[in-house]
Symmetry: C2
C-alpha cells in the first residue's frame, strides 16, 4: 500500500471532493465502452478543476491505468488524497435503455473500494468547500470529521444508502449546506411525490439548500429565497449520460469555490456552470468531453444557455 | 340542429380557437371525477379568455349542461361558433398512473363530434390569431380555409393523426406559424429522439416556431433566435393534469393576441403566461382552477416564476 506523500506546507485546495473512482463498462443503444475512467470523484474533480484548485480523495488499485492519472494531473487536480493500493480498482457496468433516462446496473465489483477508509492529507483539511460525492454515508462523515470548519459542504447520495444506511445518511443530511439528490431519490427519501414538498421536508432536516437533479429535464435548487429552476442545456446528441450528475455537482461546487461566495446570485451562476459542464460530459463517453475542453468554450455555452433562459 | 345566430356587425375576436368539447371522466391515484367539462377548445378558450377576446369553434350535443355554457359566457368567450346539435356530447375517459405523467385512455365516444364540419361565423374570419387545437387535421384545414389572412396561426395535434392522417397533418404543418406537440409526438412525427433535432426537422417543413411541451418538465420554444427554455411552475399538488397542454396553448395564444405582437420578447412572455395558467389548471379537476382565477393572481404567479428563472 502506498501512503500519501508528505505534503507539509502545500497550499490547501479551494475544494475537496471524496467519492468513488472506477473503471466503467457502459452500453448505450448505439455504442459500447469498456473499462472507461468513471466514478463520482473522477467526474466531479475533473469538472470542478476548470474553475478552482480541487483536491481528490479516493482509492484505486494497482491496475489503474497511468493515463487516467495523467489526465487528472493535466487538469491540475491535487492527487495527494488519492491512494493506490494492491488489488483491483472498483468496477461498474451498466446498460442504458433507448430513452437514455433509464439505466440498469449489470454488475458492481467493489475491489479495493471495499475497505476504503479515507484519510485526508493535512493540507486538505483547511479547504473551505467540500463535496461529499456518492459513497457510503459513514465515509462521508469520516471525511467531514477530518475537515476544519469548512464553509460550505454539499453531499450526494443514492438509493442504496437510503435503504441500507438511513441513520448515517440522515446524520450527513443534518451536517451539510446542500443535499443533492435526483428526483427519484428525493421521493424515495421522503415518501413525497411532489418535488417542492420533498425538498421542504429535506430542508427541515438540516440543509439550507436542496438541489434536485432531473437529468435531461434540468435541476431545481430549493433554498431560503425560493426555488431556482435550471433547465438542462438542450443537446442534439447524448452519447453517454454516465456521470452527468457528478459533473453537474463538480461544476457547481468548483464555480462556488472559485468565487468564494454563496449568495443567491452565486448559487444561480454555479447552477448554470454545472448544467453547462454536464452537457459537455454527456456528448461523449466517460470524460472524453472535457479532455480538450477550455474555459472559453464553457463561457460560450454558458452565455448561450443564459440567452435560452432569458424571461423578459 | 341549431345554426349559429346572425352575428353580422359583431366585433371579430382577437383569437379564434377550434377543437373538441367533451365531458371527461378522469381517475387519478387519489381522486375521481365524472362527466367533467373537458376538451381541447374548452381548456384553450377558458385560459385565453383571461387575456384576449376569444371566439370558440366547436360542437356539443343537446345533453351539454347549461352550467358549462354559463362558465364560457362568464369568461367572456364568444360562442357564436359553438354549435349545439341533437345527440350526445363527445365523451372521454382516462386514468392517470401514480407518477401523473402517464395516462391511459379508457374510452372515447365521438357522438356529435363524429360528423363535425366547422363553419365559422362571418365575424370570426377576420381574427388575426388562430389556434387549431387538437382535432382531425382535415378539420383544422377547413377552419384555416375560412380565415381571411390570419397573422399568426398555431396548430396542435396528437399521435392518432400522426398515424392515420399524416398527409393532411403535414399540410397543416406547412401552413402554420407554430406547431405545438409534446415530446413523444415530436419524436413520433420525425423519428428523431433528440428534441432539438426533431424541432429542426419540423421547422424545415414550414413553421417558423415549434413549441414542444414536456408536461411537468416544462416546454421549449424552438425558433429563428434559438431555443427558449421554459420550466414548469413547480406545484406542491397536481390534482389533475388533463388539459394542461391545451391550457398552456390557450394562455400562450391569448397573451400574444392581447398584445398583438409576435416578437421574441412577446413569445417568451407568452410562454410564461402559458406555463402559469396551466399550473392553475393542474391544481384542480377540469376547469375548476380557473373558475375563480383573476388576472392579478396570474400576474403574481408570473412574477414568482420569473424570479425562479432569473439567471444572473
Amino acid at each position: 500500500m502506498t501512503r500519501p506523500a508528505d505534503h507539509r506546507g502545500a497550499r490547501p485546495p479551494a475544494l475537496v471532493v471524496v467519492g468513488s473512482i472506477g473503471l466503467d463498462t457502459v452500453e448505450t443503444p448505439t455504442a459500447h465502452g469498456r473499462e472507461l475512467l468513471g466514478g463520482s470523484v473522477s467526474y466531479a474533480c475533473a469538472c470542478a478543476s476548470f474553475f478552482a484548485r480541487t483536491g481528490m480523495v479516493g482509492i484505486v488499485g494497482d491496475d489503474f491505468p497511468r493515463r487516467h492519472l495523467s489526465l487528472f494531473r493535466r487538469l491540475g487536480i491535487d492527487l495527494a488524497g488519492l491512494r493506490r493500493q494492491a488489488g483491483r480498482t472498483f468496477r461498474w457496468s451498466g446498460v442504458y435503455e433507448s430513452d437514455m433516462n433509464r439505466r440498469r446496473t449489470r454488475s458492481t465489483e467493489l475491489n479495493v473500494f471495499a475497505d476504503f477508509a479515507p484519510e485526508l492529507p493535512e493540507h486538505y483539511r483547511a479547504a473551505p468547500f467540500v463535496f461529499l460525492a456518492n459513497i457510503a454515508p459513514a465515509l462521508q462523515l469520516r471525511v467531514l470529521d477530518q475537515m476544519r470548519r469548512p464553509r460550505f459542504v454539499m453531499a450526494d447520495t443514492m438509493d442504496l444508502w437510503i435503504e441500507t444506511a438511513r441513520p448515517e445518511l440522515l446524520e450527513v443530511v443534518r451536517r451539510v449546506d446542500v443535499l443533492t439528490v435526483n428526483d427519484a431519490e428525493a421521493r424515495h427519501l421522503t415518501g413525497r411525490h411532489s418535488l417542492p414538498a420533498a425538498a421542504m421536508e429535506l430542508r427541515r432536516r438540516g440543509p439550507r439548500h436542496v438541489l434536485i437533479k432531473k437529468g435531461e429535464h434540468g435541476s431545481i435548487l430549493f433554498g431560503p429565497s425560493g426555488p431556482f429552476l435550471m433547465p438542462a442545456f438542450p443537446l442534439e446528441t447524448v452519447r453517454d449520460p454516465t456521470g452527468a450528475g457528478d459533473s453537474f455537482a463538480g461544476g457547481f461546487m468548483g464555480s462556488l469555490a472559485a468565487g468564494g461566495r454563496t449568495t443567491d446570485a452565486a448559487l444561480r451562476r454555479a447552477m448554470a456552470y454545472g448544467s453547462v459542464i454536464a452537457s459537455f460530459v454527456c456528448e461523449s463517453f466517460s470524460l472524453d468531453g472535457v479532455r480538450r475542453l477550455t474555459r472559453s468554450r464553457i463561457e460560450e455555452r454558458r452565455r448561450a444557455l443564459r440567452r435560452m433562459c432569458r424571461l423578459p
